[in-house]
Symmetry: C2
Subunit: 256 residues, 2 copies
């Protein structure tokens, strides 16, 4: 069968799941092992977690299913940010090999609806899922070549995340429930890839009203213990509750 022939497309979701640990923004990938007929050695490659959308399933539900099968986390906020449907997106040879081992009709076109999620990497209990031998957290600057057009899908998510963080108090999902100002600042610095002024950061965050100051502090650290904060979830969804500024000249003025 030729490309361009008359088969309804498959529809899948792919999830770009960001986590934050050890001061590093990480991407959750699955590792696939494919029998290589030539070398008799198995090939390994990485891919975004994803799956076909089931017949009676909402797109959002499909994404949530993929995420929860993989991490054990439920009810996480997933944001749909783009769909990819280039008819030639499924063309690399090793992808073919894998598809042939999994799908009835490996030649069929696949349109994928991409979702982005932010989670606290430590909360995720990674489980080998239906398609994944293994799931791993990879620092975003060390993401290898991925299956299909997954690199493109990931890059677009990263770009969207950087823009989103300017506008919404988004990063909180990436931290444990109670966190210190320094952790929060470090998260923002990581996402934005630049340093922020400590005092200005604190002022802005506190004035924004999105933080709840707890009386609890760190214990057992060999320096002045930091106060913990929580995110004020009541302020979250209203979506008009913006915390940051984009400047006229194009520079971001969120912090600094």
């Amino acid at each position: 069968m030729q490309l361009g022939s008359s088969v309804n497309p498959h529809v899948s979701t792919d999830c770009v799941i960001f986590g934050f640990s050890d001061e590093t923004l990480r991407l959750l990938l699955i590792k696939r092992t494919i029998p290589n007929k030539l070398t008799e050695l198995d090939d390994t490659h990485f891919a975004l977690p994803g799956d076909l959308v089931r017949d009676d399933e909402d797109l959002d539900s499909a994404a949530n299913r993929v995420l929860s099968e993989l991490t054990g986390l439920k009810g996480i906020y997933l944001e749909q940010y783009h769909s990819f449907g280039d008819p030639l997106r499924v063309t690399k040879m090793k992808d073919r090999a894998w598809l042939e081992s999994v799908r009835q009709n490996p030649e069929a076109r696949v349109i994928t609806v991409a979702y982005m999620a932010l989670i606290d990497a430590k909360k995720a209990q990674l489980q080998p899922g239906s398609f994944s031998k293994e799931a791993v957290w990879i620092p975003i600057h060390e993401v290898p070549e991925l299956a299909f057009d997954h690199n493109e899908i990931f890059e677009k998510a990263l770009k969207a995340l950087k823009e989103k963080v300017q506008i919404q108090p988004v990063g909180f999902e990436l931290l444990p429930e109670k966190f210190t100002m320094s952790q929060l600042q470090s998260l923002y610095e990581t996402i934005l890839e630049r340093d922020l002024d400590k005092r200005n950061f604190r002022r802005k965050m506190l004035n924004s009203g999105v933080l709840i100051r707890l009386s609890e502090k760190q214990i057992g650290v060999s320096n002045k213990p930091a106060r913990f904060y929580m995110f004020n979830r009541e302020l979250f969804l209203p979506r008009d509750q913006r915390i940051v500024n984009l400047k006229m000249d194009g520079s971001f003025t969120l912090f600094n």
Copy 2:
């Protein structure tokens, strides 16, 4: 066949096309006429322009095809903003009737990738397309009940437009090539649904560098003739060239 059965979904694109004329933001809709077996009178209803994505066709291309078949305009910027895939989205009776008259498999689930476009309503030469008897511009506050979940799709586009306009000099596509400051301000006021201060608006727009001041002025108006401006397209795509500010307290500070 039941819903939830095992048929690959159809994939379509729907286009939310905004235009601006007579100080009003308008939506381009197509009017469908469906034979009603009971009354022998034809039923009429409105829908967003859209079509199935062809087998060898990119999603963006499909949207562009829909738009250009309908308006004769080519190369218009279309922004994909969301995909809709509720398995029950195609359930209203009159939609069924229409689908039965057009599709081979009217029960099949349809996932639609929605696009948004902004055009100068006066440039569009509306053409009855493959599926549309007639295309009409309807003020956004007078949009009637639409087919399928098209009302939801439209509302989401409108919301996205309001956010977009805060961040990007987007509105220019909606105006003729040469326009006055007042027209531009009126456009922004329409989209944002609030009044803006004339002096602050002009200052901000001029400082942003996106406008080219022409020597040409209005003629034949019975008041002081307004100067024309053009949009500086070279500044457009860089995407970092932002013109507006979102404020900390949630209010938009773009203008006023």
